[in-house]
Symmetry: D2
Subunit: 366 residues, 4 copies
């Protein structure tokens, strides 16, 4: 039995592989793994055509600084268990279509796959996890293993625009959330690289991101729902989303209105946010933010440029809480889309899995 206290680091750092390592989320993973206390980047994989070349030569590094030298020196493998170095833990930052084909192969071969891809998120035996919110959804892995005959496992994290919203709503769930209305202002990096053409974001915004609104609406309900009697039961929230793309590099901002099942004072909401903490904080997971949610009193915050890096990009920043004339309350939330919303999310899921002893169970022999 695991006691919820700070977890000890492994004696040797656990070798991990990143699939889709040349993409923007893959780059973030590579950067975050370079200084990780538990995990060691052992392999990187990308599409067939780059296989065999050095990561540092192929990658178009599009985040701050430069590719870590150790990563840059790695040879790019094909995204197959045979071509990648042996690894207990595999991160997937693949596009959805590739993920659909590749991730099961690794899970079947015994790897614990922590995926940022959307391909399997809504499957009935695949946990969609934000460790602060629903770590118990990992219980579904027993069903997954049984039904899929995998010696490994597959755990997913939500879409970049879902995570900030779900973390903001989670501590309010106890009040009963009936309805949620959201309009997002999302950063260019959410579309990967090259992603959005500069001509579409100079002096412009785009009021559409393919598939994004459905993801917010369905994923949020699954995450805030329960794993019960061998099935995920969605939270009974009516949720409506409009997504837009704005000329910002990083940081998804959301304008949110919520209707609760009961009457609330703003102070109750602020207190719930302030106090919010979960298993990652209790366990002291290396990538976990100390303060998950932070409310700013300034009337014009949060802003992407100034607030997205809170808690090394793993915190969610809130502001402008006030009564809503249509639903009950309005507010703004902001999260770093490629850290908290993608790479950091997958990393935190893997840390949770390690802390829960789930990696050992899924170890794959060389």
């Amino acid at each position: 039995m695991i006691h919820d206290t700070t977890i000890e680091a492994p004696a040797d750092r656990i070798p991990v592989v990143v699939l889709g390592a040349t993409g923007l989320v893959g780059q973030r993973l590579v950067a975050m793994l370079a200084r990780h206390p538990w995990f060691r980047l052992a392999g990187v994989a990308a599409s067939e055509r780059h296989a065999g070349r050095q990561y540092g030569e192929v990658v178009q590094w599009r985040i701050e600084g430069e590719a870590p030298p150790e990563a840059a020196a790695l040879r790019l493998a094909r995204p197959t268990p045979d071509d990648c170095p042996p690894a207990t833990l595999v991160f997937s930052a693949l596009p959805a279509l590739e993920a659909e084909a590749v991730e099961p192969v690794f899970a079947r071969a015994g790897a614990f796959v922590s995926s940022n891809a959307s391909a399997f998120r809504m499957q009935p035996d695949v946990p969609l996890v934000i460790p602060e919110i629903n770590p118990d959804h990992l219980s579904a892995l027993a069903n997954q293993r049984a039904s899929r005959q995998w010696s490994g496992a597959l755990v997913t994290n939500p879409n970049c625009s879902t995570i900030g919203l779900a973390l903001t709503l989670a501590p309010l769930a106890r009040f009963g959330i009936d309805q949620v209305m959201v309009t997002t202002l999302q950063a260019a990096s959410g579309a990967g690289y090259p992603g959005v053409a500069s001509l579409d974001l100079i002096d412009n915004v785009i009021p559409f991101i393919a598939g994004e609104e459905e993801k917010i609406e369905t994923e949020t309900r699954k995450i805030l729902g329960v794993w019960q009697d061998g099935a995920f039961v969605d939270a009974p929230i009516r949720l409506s989303a409009q997504t837009t793309r704005v000329p910002v590099r990083e940081g998804h901002l959301a304008s949110v209105s919520v209707k609760f099942a009961q009457t609330l004072d703003p102070d109750e909401i602020l207190a719930a946010w302030e106090a919010y903490s979960g298993l990652p904080q209790t366990l002291g997971l290396p990538t976990a933010p100390q303060q998950v949610l932070r409310y700013l009193d300034a009337p014009d915050r949060p802003q992407p440029r100034y607030d997205r890096d809170a808690e090394n990009g793993m915190g969610v920043t809130l502001g402008r809480l006030r009564r809503c004339a249509v639903l009950d309350y309005r507010f703004i939330c902001l999260s770093h889309n490629t850290i908290r919303g993608a790479a950091g999310a997958a990393l935190l899921n893997a840390e949770l899995a390690y802390a829960r002893g789930l990696l050992a169970a899924s170890g794959r022999s060389a």
Copy 2:
């Protein structure tokens, strides 16, 4: 009695004065007046410290092209009836505080003041007019004249973020609008010049515009309401707004959700928008758009850069109509904030006033 048919141009163009002519909205007015068939720019006024200097020397022209030569040659007057050339019609693009002091002086002196300023919009005897929607609100001018002892008149147009929304809602009012939820993405020009610092809009958005949300909520209700028994009665709509500033030059975009009093098909909404037309179109007012509202079928439109100039900036562009999981329908609307949302609004109000014979009545002798 006026027949609602195309209005004849005046024999001689009517001399007009623009107050606040050096600001961004003032510049738009000056540009639009340079080629106006009914009105002739006779004078420009700005703050005391510029008085006496040539407009062309003082103005920092921040819209396309250059200041019209005739305007550039004008001497900047003080914003007083004595210092300005005689004019039947006065446009005010003054800041609210100045407008509060200056506009009544001109109205008292006999001018018809068409104001873009917020100072008097919500006053019980001041019409807040969008000519397509509530031209009958001009009836309040009789009361205004009586109570204020003005030989002239004061008519206002709404805030730049209100106009697009109100025009979009107006044709839907017949279905009964219960609730409206809106999040705006507003252009930098809405803050005037210099307005927002570039450091605040490079790689950033700002989720706050002072006073803007209240304006949207209160002005929309007044415009969609009625003038009845000597008083304005607000439309009984619950309206909630979140405003944001984005790195766009011109064009306010709004994400809107609406709850109606009755069940509707999307086709009914589209048909109502498509067919929408008002008095400016019937009268053939020079600045009136031919098609007031235009719905785009493309999934990612309207976009500020590509759609704001529809109908010379006087049209409103719509898109993405779909059912809303919380209210009834969601959609996007876009309008040009310094044309339809400000200068063009004031101009259209003045054209309506001329067509209705209200300018003659308020003529001020030299």
Copy 3:
């Protein structure tokens, strides 16, 4: 013999075809042809995979307004003379590699090809023309026809960053230009669509554009050179270019320093620019700017946003002329890269060809 007076429009507008019509320069051509007095858009061609579909369905319109309805209704042809409708005049906005294969086929089939592509610009029998500067280079077409056995002809216009510079230097050539140093700040549209990724131009500039510096250096010398004894002789100018990409939609700005063969007063330069006019102005070609070069006295102009549309985008705007401590004079020049620098350039070349009777000669029968 042609008299250099205003040219009469053809009785019927001449049918033309645009190759590469879906690209950004192709779109500009389509837009400019929609209202052209001499030419009528008869056909559009793009890559094989779009052939047969309607232009309006395929094109991602990325310039102001919308695709002209007549153009939108056209069926996209393959870029072959057989698949395109018969046309005396063919505009090529193809990528260089495709242009290399396709343009000769049309020229051989009898079309007069006005090309914006770089493939043939530096060929010894292909005129690289800016009509104000070197219309006499069209004399090379006789050699071209003889050597290549084409019944048609191929004329090219320079790179978008070369045109503004060449037009600026042309009137100074009489003073003797020895050396030119240039650093450009080029707009995103110069890279086409999708072109530069937004992540590379939000809060960033890129100090490199592949092949661009060589084009500026070689093309400028050819344009300012002479056609003599059956060969092009470059102007003996030492020219050094650094190109950069900046977050601007349209308008290439250049910081230029020039060393002359003689001592000059600034007034002589200003006068030469002011007076500059060429054959397009004399002939009254429809797309020709009235004032080719315009010098702005304001200390901070020209600026892309405010000045690029001068003369409908066909004028070049200059500013900041002053002595240079290293060479003789420094200044700034600005031109609209997809109009004066591309689509308008190809169009003006075609108008010149028509005025010179060169289209008739190269007519291709259906």
Copy 4:
């Protein structure tokens, strides 16, 4: 006598005051001092109207993260020695006009003033110092003290656009630099806050920064010159600058061409840059970059977004070295304008002064 070895930290951190602490450079200083091993922020001063209020309430923090809590709690003083807490060392981030009045008062009162302001940079007894290049210019302080009767001292650092250029040229000086041509692309933060209006930098660049070109031309010659027989002798370089403002937050990029007194291979230049190191590196000054100049081989680097933070913003990044057809060599250099170009420059000068024992000498009693 000082040996050029690593300097020991003072037993107690030296109390310092920042004048102009609410501006953008002041904010950087405050942020950098929050974690400084030698200096302790004891006081902050700004304009009269803010005096007495808490720094955290007044400052509009416009750099990453938030104002350090210790700084935020400080009371803003008037910029006078009496109102500020006693401090041996005073940093000035004042505007030039204020600096002209205020800095001498502090120097007279005994403080060592490290100023980022331009007011005194070109004075014949004021060192204009970049510690890697001309630490010996501090010898002028003896003259300064004598002539001005100050018990303290005043040392200045160059303009933000000069520093990167001067550091790049310094290691090449041994080859003999005859001529330098530069065009800069400068970040918005160089103009302070609010600085440039967003309307002037959305879809735009500005080819003018008041006074900036003269500063580059004169300051560079002074820095690369010598202190000799009691006077500064400029380096005999002909230098011509064009400055532009681009939509970038931080990082000034320069396109540079250089003519040398002798023939050079590119490898000699690269080697000189690579090996460049100065007194700050030898002494191990806390803010000194380890590698002063770094050359990137990638054809499209350096870029502001990706390279400005090299060496915590204290390194200069170079790229694109190649022969120039007009002068001898061209290249690109980039430096962080508010760190290496301003706050870090002033800080490094102060560290040098401490290491040289110049602070003790100028200590001011409480």
